[in-house]
């Protein structure tokens, strides 16, 4: 039993937390439908939808043909006319087939029509490397969508946020894109029961610190927290910010932190060039926080290469704990 007012929490995996959010939404709101490839009886390629089809039927948990452009477009059209679709791309890489509908239609319809409509579609993108699926199944393309006005783009790193951001996305009248790291699906954490929403556009300070700010996204948040723990033992006090939302970006939280610490490392899995860390760095470099910077801003992003198959190579092209640790130590020692 919980104390009154304190919400009950349970230990859930990230995938379970997402499923719970969908379950709540399906139960509460007849307009909610799930769409995607093999999300029905198969339960989704990563078992995120699980057995929801048994509870809600094939009319609400809809297996689409392998037609990403058309499927996403159907979700857009349905959102425009009264449904609340949650569309799953089986791997975020396949969204490259659907950019037209996401970017030209979902993102722009409201604006192009002078505000006459809105497109409350939610799309989910299992992303990232680490599963040995090679270059066409391992990309992190969230920066693309972060570049597109009209969309909102989030990257939950914890089960609690995975649930809360999905429910927030469903409440949102505009299209919300959720990038989920495949390696996080099995990660566990405390998740409040029932309905709650994690605000879109707010970063979370996962660890306070005075010596440097590490802004991380998605799975890199977990790595950064590990690093911060090690650094603590070395007398270095790192603040770790989980960006959570990459469109809009929580400018205030990041800038306030940098003003306090004077040092910034950005850690992200997407390709370094033009990745999310580029924006964070540029945002700080053009702000009044610039004057507080005591050293160059370091970015640790993915290598300038597709993701290789061999597991050792695969690890080598995305930032790992030792890379972050090394960068943080060098920064603390004024070696950047």
């Amino acid at each position: 039993m919980n104390a009154p007012g304190v919400p009950e929490t349970r230990e859930l995996s990230y995938a379970q937390a997402i499923r719970e959010a969908m379950d709540i939404a399906l139960a509460e709101d007849e307009r909610v439908v799930l769409m995607g490839e093999d999300i029905g009886v198969y339960g989704g390629a990563f078992q995120v939808t699980g057995d929801l089809v048994e509870k809600y039927g094939t009319e609400r948990v809809i297996d689409t043909p392998i037609s990403e452009l058309g499927g996403a477009g159907v979700a857009v059209g349905a959102a425009l006319t009264g449904l609340r679709p949650i569309f799953e791309f089986q791997f975020s890489d396949f969204a490259t087939l659907a950019m037209e509908q996401i970017v030209n239609q979902a993102a722009k319809l409201r604006f192009m029509l002078g505000g006459a409509v809105s497109v409350p579609v939610v799309m989910r993108f299992p992303a990232g490397s680490g599963t040995g699926a090679a270059a066409q199944h391992s990309q992190s393309l969230e920066a693309w969508l972060g570049h597109v006005p009209g969309l909102k783009v989030v990257q939950p790193s914890t089960p609690e946020d995975a649930k809360g951001l999905l429910l927030a996305a469903l409440d949102d009248p505009d299209p919300v894109m959720i990038f989920e790291h495949k390696l996080l699906y099995k990660s566990k954490g405390r998740v409040p029961a029932g309905r709650y929403a994690t605000p879109i556009g707010k970063a979370a300070i996962r660890r306070e610190g005075r010596d440097m700010t590490i802004v991380a996204t998605s799975i890199m948040v977990l790595k950064a927290l590990e690093v911060a723990k090690t650094l603590e033992a070395e007398g270095i006090d790192a603040e770790v910010i989980d960006l959570r939302s990459i469109r809009p970006i929580d400018r205030n939280t990041v800038l306030a932190s940098v003003r306090r610490t004077g040092r910034l490392i950005c850690v992200y899995e997407g390709v370094k060039t033009l990745g999310i860390g580029a924006e964070i760095s540029a945002m700080v470099a053009e702000s009044d926080a610039f004057d507080f910077l005591e050293s160059p801003i370091v970015r640790l992003g993915g290598a300038e290469a597709p993701i290789p198959y061999n597991p050792e190579l695969e690890k080598a092209v995305v930032p790992q704990i030792p890379d972050i640790l090394d960068a943080a130590r060098r920064m603390a020692n004024g070696q950047v």
């Binding site: 058309g70 059209g77 002078g114």
Partner: protein, 335 residues
């Protein structure tokens, strides 16, 4: 009273309904001419795609639709918009980039929409509206409404992957959507013979196990008949259909077209098959209007368009400091 030679439209619709249809066809013609004229006068900033010659397709296809039924349209969408009941002043205002336009000057010719009348909008992306139409039909089915969606698209669009994916999904889910292909023989400069492996686009319906029919798209009655049947079928829950209206655009693709890919003779031959003239002849033949009545309708349409243009021209421009309004539902919600 009617015999087997009486056209479907005359058999089916009351005289005043047919007169209204003719009025709409004239309004479209005059709208397009007014648009062209405005362009020549420098009132239009961008490009535009005129549907002169295709009026029977737009009006015929919307005959059995209510305001709850949806349409999705194309870059060549003025006719569909008028047929679905749009306000002409608001259309011109949009065209002139005015705050009073359908899109508050943000969309222009290629994005005019009128959700209040079920018009989900023109689209700048060839084939872009096809999956959206299927989505609208999915909504109707899921929400238990008996709305039907009519999805307009061109012959050029039929080679987009979106066409294939959309028709397949509509078919497997038996959705209430009618695909209306306006085959005007060219996608920009590329003839259907050079772009498309089949002769009739309706032949592709078989690949989606749905009825496909090719009709004379300049014959209002033929279009109305084919679409009515498909709409009835869709409303009953029997799924989608594909209808191909053979028609022709008299003008170039857009304002930058030098018409190098078709002959003057071809254009003249099609102009001789004017769908509006044909509609007028049908109404005269069946005693619904006389030539004088038709002339009055034409004159009234011209006057209506002139007034719409004047009113639209005089209406206010958007405020430049609101250039980024309406990106999100709650302003200032994002970056």
């Amino acid at each position: 009273m009617f015999d087997e030679n009486t056209p479907y439209a005359v058999r089916t619709y009351a005289p005043e309904v047919l007169i209204k249809a003719l009025q709409k066809m004239y309004l479209i013609r005059k709208f397009e001419e007014g648009a062209e004229d405005s362009y020549t006068r420098g009132l239009i900033h961008g490009t535009m795609h005129l549907s002169i010659g295709q009026e029977a397709s737009a009006v015929g296809a919307c005959m059995s639709l209510t305001d709850d039924d949806k349409i999705t349209s194309t870059h060549r969408g003025h006719g569909h918009c008028v047929a679905k009941g749009a306000d002409l002043t608001k259309m011109f205002a949009e065209f002139f980039g005015k705050e009073t336009g359908y899109c508050k000057g943000r969309g222009g010719s290629m994005h005019i929409a009128d959700p209040s009348k079920g018009n989900l909008g023109a689209n700048g992306i060839v084939g872009g509206g096809l999956p959206i139409a299927v989505g609208a039909a999915l909504s109707a089915k899921r929400l238990g409404l008996d709305d039907v969606t009519v999805c307009f698209f061109g012959d050029g669009a039929n080679n987009e992957g979106a066409f294939h994916e959309a028709l397949n999904m509509a078919a497997i889910w038996r959705l209430p959507v009618v695909f209306v292909c306006e085959n005007n023989k060219y996608g920009m400069s590329t003839s259907i013979e050079r772009s498309t492996a089949v002769k009739n686009i309706a032949d592709r319906a078989a690949a989606y196990d749905m009825p496909g029919v090719t009709v004379n798209g300049n014959d209002f009655s033929a279009v109305a008949q084919a679409v009515d049947r498909a709409v009835t079928r869709a409303r009953k829950g029997d799924g989608p259909s594909l209808i191909e209206n053979l028609t022709y655009r008299w003008r170039g693709h857009s304002k930058s077209d030098r018409n190098r890919y078709r002959t003057k003779e071809e254009i003249a031959a099609w102009q001789a098959r004017d769908p509006i003239v044909r509609m007028g002849e049908m109404l005269i033949e069946h005693g619904i209007l006389d030539q004088n009545g038709i002339s009055k309708i034409e004159a009234a349409a011209a006057a209506t368009i002139e007034a719409a243009i004047a009113e639209a021209k005089a209406s206010p421009d958007p405020h430049v400091d609101q250039a980024t309004r309406d990106v999100y539902s709650q302003s200032g919600a994002a970056a």
